[in-house]
């Protein structure tokens, strides 16, 4: 066989599974290895206690909680609107998805509040930007872990543009808190169309660039194909959601199955693969980046005119100009700032497709101006639970690739 031919051959997950090393019976020479909590490729502070038999991982026990900051508890002492700032800090790579799910949940509890189309479309557009942001960081760092250095710089180049767009909208690069209960935090800045348009017209070719850099790289293919296989039933059983499920062949995307914030008006496809390995997860996320770009383009072209905040004076802050001239506006401003607004008693479980999977906020109100309970069902927590299933019985060298393919954020896991 010529050398070039080996570059294109593919290894199926089943074939790789058959080569998994089975240690001889009665072997007791085992080594315990602490991976993390400061290991660079655990992407945060995750500790995994590995039990090794030679090069084979016999058991993997994840230890989480290093980043636990009690966000759910803290939400209970903030007013409804103040708690938005905490949702940013849950998943710091997809802040806008977290803002969005919280705002949607509270708006559902409030009931008689109508979010104008412009705000809804803006939310969709920004949520997709945050998906791009998250996938770019994932792709860059994941490739870096496996040894493909160059992609990192390309990904962070585009991520920088996205962060600048966030800054343009909200004044913040990461902790945007831009999606608020009742609409958006600020009026979209003048000239945002040019900025977004310039980025989104160039972006699809950039994705092609990443694909070229990685897919033409035989080391990348060898290290990802057939690695990290786990049957779909096990993934569902373990509570895995998002791109990992789609890479196992199940076309389940909350944006399609339970559309929110007018996602039903956008034309996009669910990107799926069937190989169910690290490579398939990479292909799915690459496909999602292309679909996100499509959605952003549609949002840019069809952005409705009109208000960017709901017409709900008791909930959204009045315009500055009105405050200076109208008595009621001043009273509402005073009430909202000092006490906050009251939300009718009830409970809601709202789900959103975050870059990592199902993010669900279970919000309970007892009729006061503060949430009674905010439970955050974060995708990283559910996904990370499947880590032992991906690592055990496999080679240590593959653990980094498997770990990276899960795309978890430890802030999201520990809350």
């Amino acid at each position: 066989m010529r050398e070039t031919e080996t570059h294109t051959d593919t290894i199926t997950a089943e074939a790789a599974e058959a080569t998994v090393h089975q240690p001889p019976e009665g072997v007791v020479r085992r080594m315990t290895l602490n991976m993390g909590p400061q290991h660079p490729s655990t992407h945060g502070v995750l500790r995994v206690v590995l039990e090794l038999d030679g090069e084979t991982i016999m058991s993997a026990v994840p230890d989480i909680g290093f980043l636990h900051t009690g966000i759910e508890k803290e939400c209970e002492v903030k007013t409804w609107q103040q708690a938005v700032t905490l949702t940013d800090r849950v998943d710091y790579l997809a802040n806008l998805s977290n803002n969005l799910v919280y705002a949607l949940a509270v708006e559902k509890l409030i009931g008689d509040i109508e979010i104008p189309p412009k705000a809804q479309w803006m939310r969709v557009m920004l949520a997709e930007f945050s998906r791009l942001n998250s996938h770019l960081v994932w792709l860059g760092t994941h490739a870096l872990d496996i040894g493909a250095m160059t992609v990192f710089f390309y990904c962070f180049r585009e991520r920088e543009d996205i962060l600048r767009i966030f800054e343009m909208f909200s004044g913040q690069r990461m902790m945007t808190s831009y999606i608020r209960i009742g609409g958006l935090a600020l009026e979209p800045p003048r000239g945002w169309q040019d900025r977004v348009g310039k980025f989104i017209n160039a972006f699809p070719s950039k994705v092609d660039e990443y694909e070229e850099l990685l897919d033409a790289n035989p080391i990348w293919r060898r290290r990802t194909q057939g690695v990290g296989f786990c049957p779909l039933e096990d993934l569902l059983d373990l509570g895995v959601t998002g791109p990992m499920i789609r890479a196992a062949g199940l076309a389940w995307d909350i944006r399609k199955s339970e559309p929110y914030s007018s996602y039903e008006k956008f034309d996009f496809e669910i990107s799926t693969r069937t190989e169910n390995d690290v490579y398939a997860r990479y292909r799915v996320r690459l496909g999602e980046m292309r679909q996100s770009a499509r959605i952003i383009k549609q949002a840019l072209e069809g952005m409705p005119e009109g208000a960017w905040q709901a017409d709900a004076p008791k909930i959204v802050l009045p315009e500055r100009e009105k405050m200076k001239t109208q008595m009621e506006a001043l009273i509402y401003h005073f009430k909202i700032v000092t006490e906050g607004f009251r939300v009718p008693a009830g409970e809601v479980y709202q789900v959103v497709e975050s870059p990592r999977g199902e993010i669900g906020y279970y919000v309970i109100s007892n009729g006061t101006s503060k949430p009674y309970r905010v439970y955050m069902r974060t995708p990283s927590f559910g996904n990370l639970q499947a880590l032992p299933a991906l690592l055990e019985g496999r080679l240590l060298a593959d653990s980094i690739a498997s770990l990276g393919s899960m795309d978890f954020v430890l802030g999201d896991t520990d809350r």
Binding site: I64, G65, H68, G70, E72, K73, E74, E76, V77, K108, L109, D234, L236, D237, L238, G239, V240, L250, W252, S257, E258, G346, E347, V348, Y349, V351, E358, G360, Y362, I364, Y372, R373, Y375, R377, F381, G382, Q385, D414, R415
Partner: protein
């Protein structure tokens, strides 16, 4: 007994026919069906819903503290069916004196961490759980932070005394 707001709900009716004494109430606020289940029947109810009714996914298990009411805790199971594209919420009341409930890890392996989290933050013990220990807080932590009678800044540090 099927609650009035869920009279037309097929899954609630099927569950009631299968386990007549399991459902103790429920509501359909915001079009999100919620059933109260007798704590002793939770595993059977979940098994029926998973195996016969297509609720293959357990999104999460969590808890709400209604201090000072008694029973105090509400353990919440968020179920999801992919084939029906429907969600269902099950709730069990658990009192503080007997803060114990059967674990559903026999049905979903994924319930493991969620139940550990509820144990860690609320102090509810799950019978037959394979590995019931703290998950988010340090192992030697005292108390259960998400309980309503636990101060937000904790017991250990008092900024006022500095």
């Amino acid at each position: 007994m099927i609650p009035d707001p869920l009279k037309d709900h097929a899954v609630a009716a099927a569950l009631d026919a299968q386990l007549p004494d399991a459902i103790t109430g429920g509501h359909n606020e915001h079009a999100e069906p919620t059933l109260f289940i007798a704590p002793s029947r939770i595993v059977e109810a979940c098994r029926f819903l998973k195996q016969e009714q297509g609720f293959v996914r357990l999104s999460a298990v969590t808890c709400v503290d209604w201090y000072p009411a008694d029973p105090r805790f509400e353990v919440v199971y968020l179920l999801h069916s992919l084939e029906r594209n429907a969600r269902l919420r099950l709730k069990c009341w658990v009192s503080e004196a007997d803060a114990e409930i059967d674990s559903v890890t026999v049905l979903w392996r994924g319930a493991n961490w969620y139940e550990r989290e509820v144990f860690d933050l609320f102090g509810i013990r799950f019978r037959n759980h394979p590995d019931l220990r703290r998950i988010l807080m340090p192992v030697d932590w005292e108390g259960h932070p998400l309980r309503k009678d636990y101060p937000v800044h904790g017991y250990k540090y008092s900024y006022g005394e500095e």
